[in-house]
């Protein structure tokens, strides 16, 4: 079950099978059914998820009941909620869009493993920097990019999600209306479609 997690780590740091054995022996893989709610706003989130198969999302619901998708997590993506590291309650919800199996990573995992595996701390800090970089870019897109630019960026980042999630979810992630997303796709088709 953890093969994908192992290959993910081994691609990024020199990690022997024995070392992996050691750092993974207490990890659990959990399977969530489609639509299972994994975390609700107002709860304390004590874990990070690494998706092996399937698709999860984190999202908020505003005072009018509208859903805003913060992140999609398909295979090989991490999904976490950071308030818990400061003992604060979650502002986000997490659920499974598809039947999903994910590695459950306990809160103190990165700290503990960093002490035992050379290079893990650097990997962790690279991943954090990447996540910050990704979020800065996302903020900039939401503030400044046109609907088409947002969509084109989305299909580069998540190429196959257009086949896996409904239009409204993509629109919600992009911060545009479903009508606006339809318009973007229609415009692209009129530019690129050669019957």
């Amino acid at each position: 079950m953890l093969e994908k997690f192992k290959s993910y780590l081994q691609k990024r740091l020199p990690l022997t099978d024995e070392q992996f054995e050691l750092i993974s022996k207490d990890l659990k893989v959990k399977t969530f059914q489609k639509n299972d709610i994994i975390l609700s706003q107002g709860e304390l989130c004590s874990r990070t998820y690494f998706v092996l198969d399937g698709l999860m999302r984190s999202y908020s619901i505003d005072s009018k009941g509208k859903v805003h998708i913060i992140q999609f997590a398909p295979e090989y993506w991490w999904l976490s909620e950071r308030n818990s590291l400061f003992n604060e309650l979650s502002e986000f919800n997490i659920d499974a869009i598809e039947t999903t199996s994910a590695v459950i990573i306990p809160k103190d995992y990165f700290l503990t493993v960093s002490k035992h595996v050379d290079g893990f701390e650097t990997l962790n800090s690279t991943m954090l920097n990447n996540a910050i970089r990704f979020m800065q870019k996302r903020i900039n897109m939401l503030l400044s990019a046109t609907a088409e630019e947002r969509y084109l960026d989305f299909i580069k980042l998540y190429p196959n999600l257009t086949l896996r999630v409904p239009q409204w979810m993509i629109a919600s992630y992009l911060g545009i209306t479903p009508e606006s997303l339809s318009r973007v796709r229609k415009d692209l088709a009129s530019k690129h479609f050669r019957p």
Binding site: N160, T162, R185, K186, D187, L188, A189, S190
Partner: protein, 287 residues
């Protein structure tokens, strides 16, 4: 004689959109070689309740193969990005060549949806040889009344020839590789014999009734019979009024790369299909 290899029960059903409750006989349900038929989704007969907003499947793409819908009960309205649309009623066949790419949507036809009632359909994915995967999409819609058929003697029934040939009757659609697809409609006691090449992958799905195959094995509605690749002839005898879908085709011996609605030969062709779809190269269709 072509002997039976396996008699297969319908695997557990799943929903495709909210309009189709299908048993996937292959490739997920049972691991049998049926090329050029890549997939068989069978919506066994069920009752849908009346509904103003039709159930169905929204806009989605296909590339690299053909989708074939054969209706037995209920009605499905269809629209695609090439501008084709139509309604598939019981007995009708829709043979859509997605090839280089098409977007389509399928919903229960409005009047059927409003009335509700029995629903039963087959959807096949027919693979295309590599040289035809990127050819121009096309659409062959055949009404039940226009399906060529072979009339069996003694009021035994008739063999509707969807593709290929049955005796001297040529099928309604043209295909890109050799195959035979028939609806055998047999009266109780009626018999029909089939002569199909040894090398073809061959199977039959009992849509309705109960039949005896090769004089010995009794097969019930919703079961699928998979034949061995030895011998050419088999016989079906209807123990009740029956409908049997016969599928037989020359295997396409080429590598397969499949992801979601795309069926290609190489992984990079799948990546290309995803990218083309995302960039609007399949056209546009309103949901």
């Amino acid at each position: 004689m072509k002997e039976i290899d396996l008699v297969l029960d319908p695997p557990a059903p799943h929903m495709v959109g909210d309009g189709f409750r299908v048993h996937n006989f292959f490739p997920s349900g049972h691991k049998i070689k049926m090329s050029p038929f890549f997939m068989l989704d069978y919506n066994a007969k069920i009752e849908f309740s009346a509904r103003t907003q039709p159930r169905g499947v929204g806009v989605h793409p296909h590339r690299g193969f053909e989708t074939v819908t054969i209706a037995y009960h209920g009605a499905v309205a269809h629209h695609d990005s090439a501008g084709n649309s139509g309604t598939i009623y019981p007995g009708d066949v829709q043979w859509m060549t997605a090839a280089s790419g098409i977007l389509h949507k399928e919903y229960h036809e409005e009047n059927y949806s409003k009335a509700g009632g029995p629903f039963q359909m087959v959807q096949l994915w027919v693979n295309l040889p590599a040289i035809h995967k990127m050819s121009k999409p096309k659409y062959q819609g055949i009404k039940h009344a226009d399906l060529p058929f072979y009339l069996l003697p003694n009021n035994d029934g008739r063999i509707e020839v969807i593709a290929g040939n049955y005796k001297d009757v040529a099928g309604a659609v043209s295909t890109f590789s050799p195959m035979d697809v028939y609806n055998a409609r047999l009266s109780q006691g009626g018999k029909a014999s089939f002569d199909l090449p040894e090398t073809y992958n061959t199977g039959i799905l009992i849509i309705e009734g109960e039949v005896r195959v090769n004089g010995s094995t009794v097969v019930n509605a919703d079961q699928f019979v998979y034949f061995k690749h030895k011998g050419t002839d088999f016989e079906i005898e209807a123990l009740k009024d029956s409908i049997v879908l016969v599928l037989s085709g020359k295997p396409i011996d080429e590598p397969i790369a499949q992801y979601g609605p795309f069926l290609m030969n190489k992984p990079e062709e799948i990546q290309q299909a995803i990218s083309d779809y995302n960039q609007g190269k399949f056209g546009y269709l309103e949901d």
